[in-house]
């Protein structure tokens, strides 16, 4: 009799275990909630700065395009040209009609030196459907803040020239203006091209 009970208990135990295992397939595992970049970085999906012809520019003017946005300055010796070079390599991995749907937005964090003409010539030189943006320091700072980016002017010890330490991340916006992907400096053009294709 006792033995019978033991078998029943064992079977019941196995049954409960099976139920838990099978059941677990139907219940979503607890997710590590990753912050949504669209809510963290420029959640409004808009800002206003000045284009290189002096006209006001709004990010929402580019709805329907994938926007690759980053901060820099035209005297940047390395990070900005390297990033633009990477963008070009990524563009080379896309078809012509895909490239048509992508715009690069280069926001100058150096309004004192980057005049519109220089900015326009600089962004065009790299041929990545780029728009150069400038504005007052206050306006630029607001945009920098909205993207949780940073920059700092570093004076030279030996001349009046200064360099600028700045965030190098490229923010990929989908066609609705939401930040979907942050392209870090060490990432490859292939990774960026894949990310662009995902949101075309």
């Amino acid at each position: 009799m006792k033995r019978n009970l033991l078998i029943k208990l064992t079977l019941a135990g196995i049954g409960i275990c099976l139920l838990i295992i099978v059941g677990s397939f139907f219940i979503d595992p607890p997710k590590m909630t990753e912050p949504d970049p669209a809510e963290l970085f420029n959640p409004s999906g808009n800002f206003t700065l000045t284009g290189t012809s002096g006209e006001p520019f709004q990010l929402q003017d580019l709805r329907g395009k994938i926007v690759l946005l980053f901060f820099g300055y035209t005297s940047c010796p390395d990070a900005c040209p390297s990033t633009l070079a990477k963008l070009q390599r990524a563009f080379n991995l896309l078809r012509k009609e895909q490239i048509e749907q992508v715009r690069t937005v280069f926001i100058s964090v150096d309004p004192a030196r980057d005049n519109p003409r220089l900015l326009q010539e600089y962004v065009e030189y790299f041929g990545v459907n780029a728009i150069g943006l400038t504005g007052t320091k206050a306006d630029i700072d607001n945009v920098v803040k909205a993207y949780h980016a940073h920059y700092m002017i570093i004076p030279s010890q030996t001349s009046t020239w200064y360099s600028i330490n700045h965030t190098t991340t490229v923010f990929l916006h989908d066609k609705q203006g939401k930040v979907r992907y942050r392209f870090l400096y060490e990432e490859t053009p292939e990774q960026l091209a894949e990310a662009i294709k995902k949101y075309l």
């Binding site: 035209t74 010796p77 390395d78 980016a149 020239w161 360099s163 700045h166």
Partner: protein, 153 residues
């Protein structure tokens, strides 16, 4: 006799020149290039590999370039998502070693270009070392894409 002393004199000058030449060549430079920039931009960077075959360290203390108002030695460092650039007062090239000046690291900043630079042209630079002869370098202006190293994973 006169002929002998003349020959000796000639020989010693020759020897001195050879020694000076050999000494100077202990610092050599490879792959010097300058990043090409749009015509109205006035700042760029020069990159190269400096070899030191001497048994003493060599210390680069400054550089000169005729077409730039200022040339400075800089280094870069990626800290988190921020690229930080810093002017340095010297760059040490270890004995029997080399210093690599390349994107994302050390470079010579050419500030205040007095004229636009053309892709493919050669620009002379002078490297000034502490207690050593100046080294002349010919740097080629290259399109940014051709040399910009990409990280691979």
């Amino acid at each position: 006799m006169q002929l002998l002393s003349r020959s000796l004199c000639f020989l010693s000058v020759f020897l001195l020149l050879s020694i000076a030449n050999a000494w100077a060549q202990r610092i050599t430079v490879d792959d010097a290039w300058i990043r090409s920039i749009p015509p109205s931009a006035t700042t760029t960077a020069a990159f190269m590999i400096i070899h030191n075959t001497d048994s003493d360290d060599a210390v680069l203390i400054s550089a000169d370039c005729d077409i730039a108002e200022t040339a400075q030695i800089h280094t870069m460092e990626q800290v988190g998502e921020i690229m930080k650039m810093k002017e340095v007062s010297e760059l040490r090239i270890p004995a029997n070693g080399q210093a690599v000046l390349a994107p994302k690291g050390y470079h010579i900043m050419l500030i205040g270009l007095v004229r636009p630079i053309q892709q493919g042209e050669t620009i002379p630079l002078s490297l000034n070392f502490s207690g050593r002869a100046t080294v002349a370098v010919d740097a080629v202006v290259k399109k940014w894409a051709s040399m910009a190293p990409m990280s691979h994973h």
